[in-house]
């Protein structure tokens, strides 16, 4: 049973060898059979011809004897040459009969072998007898007659035996022929059977191969589908999305759009309600995207995380409508597993018409991404269409990002200085350093943007350190710098970067910058938690005498500051607030309030954007300590600053630029 199972199990592998060996066996078998049949035919020809000739011996002998007799009797029908010819023929026959192959046949068939030998010896005697024949002389026949008498009986017996043997041989031949036909038929049947087996074999192989191929294809399809499906939500994944774009791309003139969705607040759901709830929310959103599908063809995909995409056919308006409906539905509170969850979504879309003629369809992905980014910047929970401005801005931004690292290293980003004055004492008490970068293609880039771009490409620390190094070098050339403080801005996340605080610390040491001489304003996004690295940086820099500033009230009053020992020595009034103070009582009230708060916090207040003379006086009246702006002093290059400072007799001299 086990063995049978093994053999059956190997049958697929044995099929071909079995067929091949059948053919290999069949070939010699049929060859031998056919050779046998052909030999039989040759044998028959051999024997038949010789026996027939043997049987003619009697006829030829009798012809000679009767012609000789007739000639001797003077019969006019028989001429001497006829007798001679008969003799020649008989002689020739006897000669032939005497050859080996003929003798062998005679021996095989029990003919009177001795006869031929005797006749050969007797032929000259017969010839002599024939030569004595005389026409019309009956007695001249005597010699031939004697010969005839001597041999006639034996010749007749010889011929009869030959005839009999020939008949027997013929009968045998018929038998053999029948056998041969049977054999041939068997071979034929065997070949037909073998042919049928071969055909069946080929068909089976074909069938099996096709079945195998089909299975293979099916499993490939299955795998493909699996690979193209987002496991969580069951909608397509990024691979299938790109596949879809390629498909649509191949259809020239296809009218379609790509929409990107990003959930706002998904992280909070995940963090507060758990991943299970997060997953349910993602499924919920996928269901909405599928449900919004109307008459048009729309295909939904998830890229991972909370990023979704939809490809839909139709015009730009269809896309906008779809995106708006989806965003609206996602923003509605959803009851998931007895929890009411509310998130919103931002959507950006780009229609195929947005593509410039040379752009590949893939550019739609970038466009949709830009639109999504714009939607998020515009406050989330909204839909933004792609427009050419976004692309121009994107390209400019990309260009700046690419160029800035080099610019910092090569010193192309220079320091620019804005003097800061004590509004009460009217003394110059600080300079604020900002980056000044003039780009060939885009002209002068605003300092805020340079800093922001630097942060985004992780070059914020390098930029700040570079600016401070230039500044310290510059001021090191002055003899009267003791009272001059340096103001700079740094994104909050820099303090979490390893090595930043240390580099800054070393820079202060090297230039012997005393405590209270460097003030850094924390800008940028506030982190949700203060990390270990951040706290350590703040601590070490504060110990080194660095003063921190902010323009962000919430940052200033953040309760975590207490834990981090983060004191803000300066509160900055934004330029917009200062400008509004001119015409807005409310703004003036806010300034007063902030100023009062700063006093309570033990912090100085500095006003930015003091560009008009009346601003100076108003701020003085409002009790603001410090100011910076065109009404006090313009932004300066390093050389300008040196000249400007040289004009001051000493740090205590205060004069306003008129």
């Amino acid at each position: 049973m086990n063995l049978l199972g093994k053999v059956l199990g190997r049958l697929p592998l044995l099929r071909f060898p079995i067929i091949l060996s059948l053919f290999l066996i069949m070939l010699p078998v049929s060859y031998l059979s056919l050779a046998q049949i052909s030999d039989g035919i040759n044998d028959r020809l051999h024997f038949s011809a010789r026996l027939e000739e043997a049987s003619r011996l009697e006829l030829e002998a009798n012809t000679l004897f009767s012609k000789a007799e007739l000639f001797a009797r003077g019969d006019p029908r028989v001429a001497a040459k006829d007798v001679q010819l008969a003799l020649d023929l008989l002689w020739s026959r006897v000669n032939v009969m005497g050859t080996k192959s003929y003798r062998k046949v005679q021996a095989d068939d029990d003919l009177d072998e001795a006869l031929i030998g005797e006749l050969l010896g007797a032929m000259p005697r017969l010839e002599a007898a024939v030569n004595t024949l005389q026409p019309g002389v009956a007695g001249s026949y005597r010699g031939v007659d004697l010969f005839a008498t001597q041999y006639r009986e034996r010749v007749i017996a010889f011929s009869d035996a030959a005839n009999k043997a020939r008949r027997q041989r013929l009968n045998m031949a018929v038998q053999t022929q029948l056998q041969s036909v049977t054999n041939l038929k068997r071979i034929q049947i065997a070949y037909v059977a073998l042919g049928v087996i071969a055909v069946v074999y080929v068909l089976v192989e074909l069938f099996l191969t096709r079945r195998l191929n089909r299975r293979l294809n099916e499993s490939i399809e299955e795998k493909h589908e699996l690979l193209c499906t987002d496991h969580l939500t069951g909608i397509g994944n990024r691979a299938s999305f790109e596949d879809m774009l390629r498909t649509l791309k191949a259809i020239s003139g296809a009218d379609f759009a790509v929409i990107y969705f990003d959930l706002d607040g998904f992280k909070q759901v995940n963090d507060t309600l758990g991943h299970g709830m997060g997953d349910m929310l993602l499924k919920h959103v996928a269901a909405i995207l599928l449900a919004v599908r109307q008459s048009d063809h729309a295909f939904a995909f998830r890229f991972g995380g909370d990023e979704f995409a939809v490809v839909l056919t139709g015009n730009r308006e269809t896309a906008r409508h779809y995106a708006a409906r989806a965003v609206q539905k996602i923003a509605a509170p959803a009851t998931l597993d007895a929890n009411v969850v509310q998130v919103s979504a931002s959507a950006g879309y780009s229609h195929v018409e947005d593509l410039r003629s040379v752009e590949p369809v893939d550019a739609l992905m970038r466009n949709a991404d830009l639109a999504l980014y714009a939607a998020k910047s515009a406050g989330r929970n909204c839909v933004q269409s792609f427009n050419a401005g976004l692309l121009i801005e994107y390209e400019r931004r990309t260009y700046l990002e690419d160029a800035l690292s080099h610019a910092i290293v090569e010193g192309a980003v220079e320091a620019s200085f804005q003097p800061v004055f004590d509004l009460q004492s009217r003394r110059l008490c600080a300079v604020k350093v900002v980056p000044r970068w003039s780009h060939n293609a885009y002209g002068a880039i605003a300092p805020a943007e340079v800093m922001e771009v630097a942060d985004s490409i992780n070059q914020g620390a390098a930029l700040l350190l570079s600016l401070l190094r230039s500044t310290f070098n510059l001021l090191g050339r002055l003899t009267t710098q003791a009272e001059l403080r340096i103001y700079a801005e740094a994104s909050e996340n820099l303090f979490s970067q390893p090595g930043f605080a240390q580099s800054l610390f070393e820079l202060l040491e090297r230039h012997r910058v005393g405590p209270g001489h460097l003030q850094i304003e924390l800008t940028g996004k506030r982190s949700a938690t203060y990390g270990e690295a951040f706290l350590a940086s703040i601590r070490s820099l504060r110990d080194a005498g660095v003063i921190f500033a902010t323009s962000d009230v919430s940052r200033a009053i953040d309760s975590r500051n207490r834990l981090a020992n983060l004191d803000f020595g300066t509160l900055k009034l934004e330029r917009t607030l200062v400008e509004e103070a001119t015409r807005s009582e409310r703004s003036r009230g806010i300034i007063q309030g902030l100023s009062a708060m700063a006093v309570k916090m033990g912090a100085e207040v500095i006003a930015e954007g003091v560009d008009r003379r009346e601003d100076v006086e108003r701020l003085q009246r409002l009790g603001i300590a410090l100011g910076q702006g065109d009404a006090l002093a313009p932004a300066m290059t390093p050389d300008d600053l040196l000249r400007y400072l040289a004009g001051w007799a000493g740090p205590s001299v205060v004069a306003f630029r008129r």
Binding site: N42, L45, E60, A80, Q84, D88, L89, W91, Q134
Partner: protein
């Protein structure tokens, strides 16, 4: 007188009888169409005119495997000369042995009408005066019994079918 006449006659017969080879006027064999409409006698002149080839071969109906030098015109040459172009012929011997011979044996296999073996003109006693001989020493395929049966000796007649 009578006896002298008789003896003269006997001499004449004897002369006639000893002269066994064909006379100059006597044909070697004839070629004719089956319906008898055309008959061509192959005489010594005809054989001379057709030219002859010589080759060495074993011969059927003889002992041993020794080679004999045979000479005679190509059957095809004789047929061309006599103006026959049948697809098949019947070769008939003096002893009335008959066999079908396809024309291609003459056209492609080089069968000759041998009139001389080992330099001696063939007589009836040694299978003459004409013997269809295949050059079977040059071509093993010709040793097949079928060609032996077509190697007609004492050829009397070739009948174009």
């Amino acid at each position: 007188m009578l006896s002298m006449t008789k003896s003269l006659a006997a001499l004449a017969v004897g002369l006639a009888l000893t002269c066994t080879t064909a006379l100059a006027s006597e044909p070697y064999f004839t070629i004719r169409s089956a319906d008898g409409a055309k008959t061509v006698e192959i005489t010594a002149e005809a054989i001379e005119k057709a030219g002859s080839v010589t080759f060495k071969t074993t011969l059927p109906g003889t002992d041993g495997e020794e080679l004999h030098e045979v000479r005679g015109p190509l059957m095809q040459s004789l047929l061309d000369q006599a103006g026959f172009a049948s697809a098949e012929y019947v070769a008939v011997a003096l002893d009335n042995y008959e066999i079908d011979v396809p024309a291609e044996d003459f056209a492609t296999l080089g069968a000759i009408a041998a009139v001389e073996v080992d330099g001696k003109p063939l007589t009836v006693r040694d299978k003459g005066p004409t013997w269809i001989v295949y050059p079977r020493s040059d071509n093993a395929a010709l040793t097949d019994p079928i060609y032996e049966s077509r190697s007609v000796w004492q050829l009397k007649e070739l009948v174009a079918k």
